[in-house]
Amino acid sequence: MPMAVSPERPRTGVTRLTGGRLVSGDKLVEGDLWISSVTGHILRSQEVFYEHHVIPDEVIDLKGKILCPGFIDVQFNGAFGFDFSSVPADMNEYQKGLHRLNKRLVRTGVTSYLPTLPSQKAEVYNKVLKYLGPSGRPRNALEGSESLGAHCEGPFISPTKNGIHSLQVLQEAPSGFADMEVVYGVENFGSMESELPGNAGSPISMITAAPEVPGVSACIPEISRRGIRFAIGHTEATYEEASEAIQRGATMITHLFNAMRPLHHRNPGVFGVLGKTEGRDRPYYGVISDGIHLHPTTVKIAHNAHPDGFILVTDAMKTVGLPDGVYDGMNGDRWEKKGPLLTREGSDTIAGSSATLIECLNNFWSWSHASIPQVLRSVTSTPAEMLGLQGVKGSLEADADADLLVLDAVEGEDGQRGFKVEQVYKFGTLVHDASNETFGL
């Protein structure tokens, strides 16, 4: 009797994405990707096919578009009017605002981020850090973007390189790590040793501080031991001081060139570590490529010096995504937004940025004409590596989280290049489709 197979099969929650160009290392390759909306992972398709006889519920033809991991923004202060460091009277409002932000943010292609807090008083950290820790545990695609842990930018930074941080809240760490515990809250440091960010104990993933500020450099080993990244930023450090911080465990530089000493041919400053770091790997470094913070050629030079560490960030303020105009800023300031440019009202001081990550990405691509995989890794695999999440986020390998973007790549004749986000998948579920206005979170 010939074998008969029942045509009715239970739904598996598996989607097969075919016909796209996948980012794989330095190349774009044609291939298929199988994702599960049940587990939220990218599947080992051959194993699932032979071992479990799984057929995808849905086959989606990407028609040659680019398939890449979801973007990760590691410096991001707020958006759509919501500011991580503004504490309302009612913390329920804060939570609701956070949820709304996550749902809107995911449409821009940013599927994971580090909510960033510029220098604040201790009360602020105590109030908000518990809401800003890693939010991906439930693996709920409908929440939208996911926090990978908080980024505390300050208050242990240099008073002469404070940018728009309020001088009143800056401080030193004469008692070492204990001072940090006081400011951020003891309970906000994980008690376990961990390589991974956001272990069960700590909502903080990264701390930016100036290594030359008294007491800070000594804290670096303890911070690393707790699974928290130490980033050098807002600093007057020399090349030697920066190198020493790296020796002690610093692995990141916050918005390179901004709020630090410039490159001098005999005093290369923090930038010098991109050339050579004694004994350790060269660190990762964030770059704001909104076209305002840095000259395009500066970005290109940094990228050429150390492409493996190059991470694009927005340092976006809450005004991103809002229409142009004047808004209340931090610490009683008034800010004026004009497109991506954000200044203190009445002056030229840059108050942060209002560019989205994809705008920054498109700028970088247009300036550098690097290959698509090289451009895209700066917001996917490189930040994932920096955070210790390689193979989990920012990757199209099997078993990684299925946070994916379908991008349209446009290369204009004038040298302008740009990506457009067509679809967004979070944990294997489609959460945004540009061609369908009504679909979404």
Binding site: M1, P2, M3, A4, E47, F49, H53
Partner: protein, 397 residues
């Protein structure tokens, strides 16, 4: 000039007898491996379509791996993507698999089939059969495989390639022509040939494999073999011009009632071709060449006018024909009026000899009762005499 040739090696097959199984080994020559692969892919698609498989009636396809069939798979995938063919009701049996490497190893035959075929078409994974080289009991795995083929109804079409030593699947020279699915240790030459896929590191190349046997392949209703490239030319020559021989195991194809070999011109370099040596360079005299070209073109034309005139009709069609023939043989013959044998004088009938009425001797002859002869008690009684025809009826003999 592109020369497309089709040669009948056995002349007992007539073009109009396309439905009767038991014909020739068809040799189809195409210009290069690409056109050869396309021919086979088109043939397979045509066969599946005319078989019209359904959920209870799958088309059982035997499949190979290797560089020769890769082109066939590419063409099948392309046709599927264009919507020309669905494989939803196709059951597949692969020929072989290495022993001892993980199923997901990039060089396993599972991976080859997934990357080249299964991931691009709609074969149901539950309908796929590939030998498991990591089974706990390899012999049980082989026995089970044969049984699965049987339960699927036997293989309708087995596609295969050939090694440079004339082997089919892993049936290396010396394999029994009656062999079935079993574990084989690979020949040293095969291991060397395979090492290019394992980083040229001999220690990484599998030394054993599970393979279908020669007879397993020959049991299929139809066998189609692709042979391309000059390095296969000697094997082709040995297998179709030599005798059936276990040193060139594909030669067992000569015993198959319905086989087809599709080759490119390079693979024919050793053939005598009954014998026509067709050369790509026009070294033969132009006129002789032209005559030959005409001859074979006309064969090809007749063939193509019949469609795939040699396509094997489905088993049920053939069985129905056979059944109707048997029926006719079994039904009693209505005697035909043989008027040419009828006698000219009517009414003549044989006389019946009158019965002899017996009487006993003593009524004819005066006699004394017998006495004093010591015959007391031994009276002879008269035996009742009756005619022979009461005892024996010659008509009932």
């Amino acid at each position: 000039m592109m020369l497309r040739l089709s040669i009948q090696l056995c002349s007992c097959m007539r073009w109009d007898q396309q439905i009767v199984p038991g014909g020739a080994v068809r040799l189809v020559i195409r210009e290069d491996k690409h056109t050869a692969a396309r021919y086979i892919a088109d043939y397979i698609i045509e066969r599946i379509k005319s078989f019209a498989p359904g959920p209870g009636k799958p088309f059982v396809l035997g499949l190979p791996t290797g560089s020769s069939p890769e082109g066939v798979y590419k063409n099948l995938v392309a046709a599927h993507k264009k919507g020309e063919i669905s494989f939803r009701d196709v059951v597949t049996f692969n020929m072989d698999e290495y022993v001892g490497i993980p199923r997901e190893h990039p060089e396993s035959y599972h991976s080859f089939m997934y990357q080249n075929f299964f991931s691009h078409v709609d074969v149901d994974p539950a309908n796929i059969n590939i030998l498991n080289g990591n089974a706990e009991d390899l012999e049980e795995e082989c026995i089970a495989y044969e049984e699965k083929i049987k339960r699927a109804g036997g293989i309708e079409l087995f596609l295969g390639g050939i090694g440079p030593d004339g082997h089919i699947a892993f049936n290396e020279p010396g394999s029994s022509l009656r062999s079935r699915t079993r574990v084989k240790t690979l020949a040293y030459d095969t291991i060397i040939a395979n090492s290019r896929f394992f980083g040229n590191d001999l220690s990484k190349v599998p030394k054993m494999a599970l393979t279908v046997g020669v007879e397993t392949v020959m049991d299929a209703r139809e066998v189609v073999v692709i042979i391309t490239g000059p390095h296969k030319a000697l094997a082709l020559q040995k297998c179709i011009e030599g005798g059936v021989n276990h040193m060139w195991t594909l030669s067992s194809l000569q015993w198959h009632p319905h086989a087809m070999i599709v080759v490119d011109e390079d693979a024919t370099l050793e053939l005598q071709v009954k014998t026509v040596k067709v050369s790509l360079c026009s070294q033969a005299s132009p006129t002789a060449f032209a005559h030959l070209a005409q001859y074979f073109k006309s064969i090809e034309q007749v063939a193509s006018s019949q469609g795939f005139g040699q396509a094997l009709a489905s088993e049920e069609f053939v069985l129905r024909k056979r059944d109707s023939v048997l029926e006719k043989l079994d039904s009693p013959k209505i005697p035909t009026a043989k008027t040419f044998l009828a006698p000219t004088k009517p009414g003549l009938s044989g006389q019946i000899t009158p019965d002899l009425i017996p009487d006993s001797m003593h009524e004819r002859v005066e006699g004394q009762p017998a006495k004093g002869l010591g015959l007391d008690g031994l009276e002879t009684k008269e035996l009742p005499l009756s005619g022979m025809h009461h005892r024996v009826d010659s008509a009932a003999a």
